[in-house]
Symmetry: none
């Protein structure tokens, strides 16, 4: 399977912002032709990096619902069951399972009766405790920067297989394949910054 490069990351970013953008517009942005962009997007889909094309829906606009975050503390033997059960619930927008087995659910409910809603979808005996936070607001971040997707050392361009080094330089998180590239980048940055002063 072909590796990812900077161009793929740019395409991902552009699509994340607006998945309806014409291929020609993407092509101009990344310096390719529309067919080449098409090929890359197809490949990204095959690789499972693009999981699908979808819309962001403001569910709270649809009815008088309440967005909540629910922390579940399942009994250790039932973590998978609880995870599967909540994932099947209709009102769910996101599920997170911690390595400690705790489960956090992001849901938008038609009323605030969380207990009866939970009871309708899963066996409450498999949950030792739960905690509900009503949300004042929330954002799902769609704009993803190139560094957020960074896969290559920003200095030598080599792919960072595992490990790697990160450092915050000028407020930006950068990733390097090795400490020497990091040193080089930092000194280059400092030279540049000093020159500006």
């Amino acid at each position: 399977m072909r590796d990812l490069d900077e161009t793929d990351l740019e395409i991902l970013e552009l699509l994340t912002e607006n998945a309806r953008r014409p291929y020609k517009e993407i092509a101009d942005n990344v310096g390719l032709t529309p067919p080449a962009v098409s090929d890359r997007i197809s490949r990204l889909e095959e690789q499972g990096i693009i999981q699908g094309f979808t819309i962001d829906v403001d569910r709270e606009k649809l009815r008088g619902e309440t967005a909540v975050l629910i922390e579940l503390d399942p009994v250790p033997t039932a973590v998978d069951d609880v995870y599967a059960a909540v994932t099947d619930l209709e009102e769910i927008e996101g599920v997170f399972e911690g390595v400690d087995g705790s489960i956090v659910v992001h849901a938008t409910l038609p009323d605030s009766n969380v207990r009866s809603w939970l009871a309708s979808g899963l066996n409450l005996e498999s949950v030792r405790n739960y905690d509900v936070t009503v949300l004042a607001r929330s954002d799902r971040i769609v704009g993803v920067s190139a560094t957020g997707f960074g896969l290559e050392c920003v200095v030598c361009g080599k792919e960072i297989v595992d490990g790697g080094v990160t450092a915050t330089v000028g407020g930006e998180l950068k990733t390097f394949c090795c400490p020497s590239c990091e040193d080089r980048y930092v000194s280059r940055y400092e030279t540049h910054r000093d020159a500006l002063e």
Copy 2:
């Protein structure tokens, strides 16, 4: 502004599953023609119900990153600042603010040094405490079932089978099962609003 009906909900569901579906396919599913579907989608965008067209990206496939959930406990005077600051961070995938001012951040980080990462983006003095949970897995639910978008009357709670009435009250779109519930809601709203003045 036009009201929402069952057809709009079907369109939302179809687009949520696959936003690249041709209008003709959607049109066949809901019994309309492609231009009519186009009109409705434009309207849903104007109303802010469709917030945008985007892709689902499997970020953990991109490199050996670690997904975490971070609970922040900001000092009460800095809640907005902290929320704004984390929203600007590159590695963020979601932010939630509870009515109690607590903030939960969903991020995918290149390493596990959360503290330095947080310090790079926000003033740690505005956070009294924070708690990190490394995630074993997580899902954002994209496929939304028909009932997931089902409408309930915001007054009497009855499910709205077909027809139904919507109105914009105080800038918010609300849905009712019948005009009488709408009247009741509107008068209740106006009483409430007058009381504030």
